[in-house]
Symmetry: C2
């Protein structure tokens, strides 16, 4: 197949018409006789002609590509998240004739993203994670490339899509309250991730509604927990905490491991819950109540909004509410 690919000129010559006409038959734009249109289209089908995307891109000033920024440090917890999100994105983009260019996010410099933008290789960008201090977003804003972020942003001229983290977390808490939990501790959460704040908000609201106090001392930072897991856990037990809520399954896993080492029984001695359910705890023999989000739908929403923006339509912030409260385990290995 190394014969040079067919061009619009070849078609024009073969059909004895001008390439303008051929172009019109293909694009559907501009007036053209029904007969000639059919003639061109059937020729195209028969000879399996495919327009050259780059030439079209150059003429139309667009690439039909979007970039998806992919965190390089994805751990076992968020890996399935990003994977599913990506599938959702591609579902939409491929339907609309767009392709996805992956950019690995190595640190705040965002060198790869910069290159892609500088070279004008994409029409828009999806950021798969929202940071409070987000240099990628700042850079994109400045370069006036359309983008949407996954995760709520305070910034009014940023378009975002997000799970309904606050509601989900509140629902999880309600479930736990219903099961009889009285006193809660909260562990973990990267303070630079916007999502951490929303989960915290949901947590507080649920406490408020239940008439329970929010106790700052029962709110453990991830870094502190990693340093002094043992002391913190026994401290929480002494304080009669009946449920430990973890920001995600990675934290929950640490908690489970430590409890096991320390001979703390779950759920007899204490209950464990997680604000994000990955699959890594499916092996756990101890039960963990958690939230399952619809990542694929989130990806689809992000893709739809970025395409909106690219087309010049008005995008909107989308909240995906199709989460589920999950009761996991017990399963033992």
């Amino acid at each position: 197949m190394s014969e040079k690919a067919m061009t619009i000129d070849d078609i024009a010559r073969d059909l004895g018409i001008s390439k303008t006409t051929v172009s019109r038959a293909i694009s559907g734009k501009g007036r053209i006789g029904n007969a000639t249109r059919e003639r061109v289209l059937s020729y195209i089908k028969e000879h399996d002609y495919k327009p050259n995307a780059m030439a079209r891109g150059l003429a139309e000033q667009r690439t039909c590509n979007i970039a998806v920024v992919w965190p390089m440090d994805a751990n076992l917890v968020d890996m399935p998240f990003f994977q599913k999100v990506l599938v959702g994105i591609c579902d939409v983009t491929s339907r609309e004739g767009y392709d996805v260019l992956i950019t690995i996010d190595r640190g705040p410099e965002a060198v790869d993203l910069r290159r892609v933008i500088d070279n004008r290789k994409v029409d828009g960008v999806i950021l798969t994670r929202t940071l409070l201090e987000d240099l990628s977003a700042a850079f994109l804003k400045e370069s006036s490339v359309p983008f949407v972020t996954m995760g709520t942003s305070e910034d009014n001229d940023i378009t975002w899509v997000d799970n309904d983290n606050e509601a989900a977390c509140r629902e999880l808490m309600e479930q736990l309250l219903e099961e009889g939990c009285k006193r809660f501790a909260l562990i973990g959460g990267d303070e630079n991730y916007a999502i951490t704040g929303q989960r915290l908000a949901g947590y507080k609201k649920a406490l408020l509604e239940a008439g329970l106090p929010f106790e700052q001392e029962l709110c453990i930072r991830q870094s502190d927990f990693e340093k002094a897991t043992g002391e913190i856990l026994s401290g929480l037990l002494e304080k009669k905490v009946s449920c430990i809520v973890c920001m995600d399954d990675a934290i929950a896993r640490e908690v489970l491991l430590s409890c096991h080492d320390m001979g703390i029984g779950i759920p007899q001695d204490i209950r464990i819950a997680s604000f994000y359910s990955s699959q890594i705890l499916e092996n756990a023999k101890s039960p963990v109540t958690s939230i399952r989000f619809d990542e694929r739908a989130l990806g689809e929403a992000a893709a739809e909004q970025i395409l909106c923006k690219i087309r010049g339509e008005k995008p909107r912030n989308v909240i995906v509410s199709s989460h589920q409260i999950m009761k996991k385990g017990p399963i033992g290995l």
Copy 2:
């Protein structure tokens, strides 16, 4: 920033030279006076000019993109694999000024891949998994697009990179033999994955070298195992099997779960090993001996070879040998 981007014409006009000269200064090709080159380059640096990748692509007939085909059905076991491979690929491509376009592989039609190829949006393709019956590979061959596959191929005009699966599996077996295992069973492996054959080969060789017979009846197909886990496990115990070797951690997980349910002790009653170590079993409280491969290096190798091929240089099949035999657990949750 919505002023139109600068072009080489702008530069040429500003500097009072022709755009040919500007082009030459940028590309380094063709003779050009040192003074003018410097003048152009410093102008470019000062005004932060970036060439338009699409225009260049159209002129040079290349996209500076490669496609990476990503399995949509990636499970927890292979997800980290693909993630790490992708990072390895991007390390190399971004260094060479190439970008990565992701194509989700939804079944044998390979519609997304086809679109990308038909639209000539990439210069080459990396297939991240090798099937014995590989329609994607067949399609790529036919369309004469450079590609490399991850996983050994029998086909002589396919370029591939792979882990040294056979050697790794043999080493794992040697380790088990050293630990005193005498009789082995082998479970799992998708029969359409090329890798299954190689692992089987390593398994057989190790048995041969140890003077042990290869017993077909101790070789369980994944589909059979899933149907009748319990019977198969007790059958293996009756046959005095001392070690169950699993094709990957997903199988190992099933085996562990069943053993737990059936009250089979590990490693007292039987030992478990896996030919591929993901992270999903890091939570297991039972020890599993397994192999850790260097996925990132594999990705780098694939990227290097596809770039070779694109440049018209002679690519070679690469075997990445940096694997490690791992002894996991016991950790309990």
